[in-house]
Point group: C2
Chain length 142, copies 2
DNA sequence: CTGTATGGTTGACGCTGTCAACCATTTGAT
DNA sequence: ATCAAATGGTTGACAGCGTCAACCATACAG
């Protein structure tokens, strides 16, 4: 198989992204959670009294997009909207216990898959690989 | 920032996927090419006389989805459909010179971004990191 | 030559996110 | 106190993408 046009490195990253991304084998992250929904849920879990717009900002959505994602999550019972009593315009989005559950179980599946993948790597250099991934993510944030 | 619920490793991978994936800063890979379109174009470039269904198979689409992606690519001028003369039912999808161009330029952008990222990382051993990423992608294929 | 399998296309549909207009609340200037 | 921005959120209309099922055309086996 003589791959052309695209460098090995690009292709490697693309394949990794594809595998773990929204359209990989697990197009949905969990039972009934799309990738953006999962990401939003994660943000909500980690933001105290998260306003709707924050989510949009963090994930690169419009505020109306954010509203819609939050509504979906709410309908699924993973999230609750509570009017802020400091500012009547703001909706604090809070994760529910069910939301916590689904987040935890998704994380578990994700982690397991990563471990499984790392175990199959040639040099068995899993710890090294983990460090690399974390460093990469950190470098992305800067 | 005390991140809860999700393990560091999961989060790292998620962030990487997000950054390089369809909804990262570059939601579109190139000018007017969505992520799936880009992937399809890559497959087409690397498959001699690629039937439409192949693309669907390789990317996890229905055959009708594949038709639609190919049509989009054709409308953009990156691809051409040619009726096979060995089997009148089959459409060979072939990349055009413009398609090659867009693929090359996208690869260049992608590569540059990776290099840039690696340069910012604490471990300056770029070749080693590249090797690790390629190993990871290889492990995915098995 | 007839029935079946296979490749591809198309119409109707559902889901997701954007845009723009909108409402409600807050805030600042007067 | 009042009124005009500014800000947070929601909603209707819309477009893009992919699925499903029905369909057409070609190939092939008996």
């Amino acid at each position: 198989m003589n791959k052309r046009k695209i460098s090995d490195l690009s292709r490697a990253l693309i394949e990794i992204v594809r595998h773990f991304g929204p359209k990989g084998p697990n197009g949905e992250c969990c039972e009934n959670l799309s990738m953006p929904e999962f990401l939003a849920l994660d943000k909500i879990a980690n933001t105290e009294d998260c306003p709707v717009q924050n989510i949009g900002q963090l994930l690169g959505f419009t505020k109306s997009g954010a509203t819609r994602i939050v509504n979906r999550l709410e309908k699924k019972g993973y999230v609750q909207k509570i009017k802020s009593f400091e500012d009547g315009r703001v909706c604090c989005v809070v994760i529910t216990p069910q939301g916590e559950n689904v987040l935890a179980s998704t994380d578990e599946r994700y982690s397991k898959e990563i471990e499984h993948l790392l175990a199959r790597m040639p040099d068995k250099n899993a710890p090294h690989m983990k460090a690399l991934l974390k460093d990469m993510a950190r470098a992305l944030r800067d």
